[in-house]
């Protein structure tokens, strides 16, 4: 049935009732990129979770035969599949363990932005008026601030560590989320069923979290997926600059950073983490873009 839908996300609600399975199969057929994206993300998660079993060696162990006689990294061979780094550690093991840091930062930083952004967006959109203006100007400030500059300042103050890196990234990423959520809330709150909730005596908290929040989640999930990719890249960028995750903890960023120094002699040291970053970010972006296509009724070909 295609009645007049006051809300785009209704199509999903309707579809969900007809069976998640069939809708999923349908969306995979229509959006193969989502499938590819989810596959990459899935592999990434498996690698990160099972790193101790998948990695051939301890990522911090320096092998005696990990350096050539004249002290250079060893090129990829049957013992070290991706070669070794400049202090004789297995590059593949470091790459596998490095996925943990990347995912951790990507996901936790996104989670922080998500919580801050969604909460402020909900409040801003629902209450409006002065509260709305204040929150939106605050958002403008955060969005206008040069990302790298603020992150560097924050990390410098907080001391570089994995936790502080994702805090520094997370507290900046909420601007876009807050705006998107606010826009959605403005649309949803005008529906009569929200007024109906007030009429039956529901509290503001109940209306915000039980009625409005589920209706704004779609775009937020899309944004979150895209933001994970961005945050992985942000961590890498910081680590390349030496203010991110500190060695010997392997992260793709500091591996690229180490590789920079020996690029002429040992290009694999940059190629390996660089390619891993590329694929990971691509995976999250494909997933995010695909989800947006699915959630956005204007770009759907059906419904």
């Amino acid at each position: 049935m295609s009645t007049v839908l006051p809300n785009g996300s209704l199509t999903q609600a309707a579809e969900r009732k007809r069976g998640i399975g069939r809708a999923l199969v349908k969306s995979i057929r229509e959006y193969p990129m989502v499938y590819l994206g989810s596959f990459i993300v899935f592999v990434l998660i498996v690698v990160a979770v099972f790193a101790p079993w998948l990695a051939p060696y301890d990522p911090t162990k320096q092998f005696a035969n990990g350096l050539t006689p004249d002290g250079m990294p060893v090129a990829p061979n049957h013992q070290f599949l991706l070669g070794t780094d400049d202090v004789g550690r297995d590059e593949l093991s470091r790459l596998i363990y490095g996925s943990r840091v990347s995912l951790e930062v990507g996901i936790f930083a996104t989670f922080i932005s998500l919580v801050i952004g969604t909460t402020l967006g909900l409040i801003s959109g629902y209450f409006g008026g002065v509260i709305d203006s204040v929150i939106m100007r605050l958002t403008d400030v955060v969005l206008a601030f040069p990302f790298l500059l603020l992150t560097m300042a924050l990390v410098a103050v907080l001391q570089p560590s994995v936790t502080n890196v994702f805090i520094a990234i997370g507290v900046q990423g909420w601007g876009t989320m807050a705006r998107v959520v606010r826009g959605q809330v403005l649309a949803v709150k005008s529906f009569e069923y929200v007024q109906a909730e007030r009429a039956i005596g529901a509290s503001t908290a109940r209306i915000l979290f039980r009625v409005i929040l589920p209706n704004v989640l779609g775009p937020v999930i899309v944004l979150a997926a895209l933001s994970v990719g961005f945050n992985i890249l942000a961590e890498a960028g910081l680590s390349v600059l030496g203010i991110g995750v500190q060695p010997p903890t392997p992260s793709w960023g500091n591996m690229v950073s180490e590789g920079l120094l020996t690029y002429r002699f040992a290009p694999w040291m940059m190629w390996a983490p660089g390619t891993a970053l590329l694929i990971a970010v691509l995976g999250f972006n494909l997933l995010g873009d695909g989800l947006r296509d699915i959630f956005d009724p204007r770009t759907t070909t059906h419904g």
Binding site: M1, T3, V4, P6, N7, L10, A13, A14, K17, F191, E192, Y193, Q195, A196, E197, R198, A199, I200, G201, A202, S203, R206, V211, P214, N215
Partner: protein
């Protein structure tokens, strides 16, 4: 006479018009401009007027779904506009609303059962099993299959949805229900079914209705008294039959002359109003109706007519009387 169930006094709702970078308030839309009336227990007060005359705004202001600018709303000895937070939410049990659009007024993510159960959950009434039983009973009372509780709004037609909306208004056993154009979005055949249902329910549960509509024949069918609004102000208030037989205000006459009569040979005067309703942001001086009134006098352009009881129980705001 006993204390009326609801007493509305000088209710006003002005929407600010903001312009420019600084969002300065440059004027107000006077959607509801000084409305006062009383509703007796068990009666149905019809409220009519053209689109944009403030009917819906008035209804929602009474319930404080829209915050009124000024005025008093007394319900069983309490001024609703003075209540805040939890005491207001508690009072909402006594007065409910049925919305015009049965498509927008039900949450698409809630099953019908949950939609009907939620008011009881919010007010912590009954045990879960009792709530479920009451939902089924209510569905049956509004003429639906109790098993519909498991279904979702998109599976229903407009008329069925409106029955669900009515059931939701009944869940908390309110004394007063505001019906905001409850049948305007429905087919004519379904309209009469829903109207009959509303009348049955009124008898069964001793309900008091405020029935907002723009369709006079619908209002005549169900109302005891009728209030005519024009541009956010009261034009006329009288018993339904009196109003239809002996309308006093020229605006009411024009409205009534537009009601179709099921007799092709009936001869009658059709009063056509010229022009549109003036903007409530810039209402005319004097009587708000003088710009379109066929019998306007000089005094109408300068003085606002007083609200007077010109015959017993028949109030009008017009310089003719």
């Amino acid at each position: 006479m006993a204390e009326p169930l609801l007493r509305v006094k000088d209710l006003k709702k002005y929407f600010p018009i903001r312009r420019g970078v600084l969002q300065r308030t440059v004027g107000y839309v006077r959607a509801v401009d000084g409305v006062s009336f009383e509703v007796e227990r068990g009666e149905t007060l019809g409220v009519v007027g053209e689109s944009g005359c403030g009917k819906s705004t008035m209804a929602r202001s009474i319930l404080r779904l829209i915050e009124p600018t000024a005025g008093e709303v007394w319900f069983e000895g309490e001024n609703l506009l003075r209540l805040s937070g939890s005491s207001l939410r508690h009072m909402r049990r006594q007065m409910q609303i049925v919305f015009q659009d049965p498509y927008a007024s039900l949450n698409p993510r809630y099953s019908i059962g949950y939609t009907l159960e939620e008011p009881m959950i919010v007010h912590r009434l009954h045990t879960p099993a009792e709530r479920k039983r009451r939902v089924r009973w209510l569905l049956e009372r509004v003429g639906l299959d109790p098993d519909y509780a498991k279904r979702y709004p998109h599976e229903f037609s407009g008329g069925q949805r409106q029955r669900i909306g009515i059931a939701r208004a009944l869940v908390l056993q309110p004394k007063l229900i505001l019906l905001d154009e409850p049948v305007a979005a429905l087919d004519v055949s379904v309209q009469s079914q829903v109207l009959n249902l509303l009348e049955d329910l009124q008898d069964e549960f001793d309900l008091t209705y405020i029935f907002v509509a723009h369709d006079l024949s619908v209002v005549r069918h169900i109302s005891d008294r009728i209030l005519v609004l024009y541009l956010g102000r009261m034009a006329e208030l009288a018993d339904a039959e009196v109003l239809f037989v002996d309308p006093l205000h020229p605006y009411t006459r024009a409205l009534l002359s537009a009601v179709p009569v099921p007799d092709p040979d009936a001869k009658r005067e059709r009063i056509i109003l010229r022009g549109d309703v003036p903007s409530p942001a810039n209402p005319p001086h004097g009587c708000p109706f003088h710009t379109r009134c066929p019998v306007a006098m000089d005094v109408c352009r300068s003085e606002v007519p007083a609200w007077r009881e010109v015959k017993p129980r028949h109030y009008v705001a017009c310089h003719l009387y």
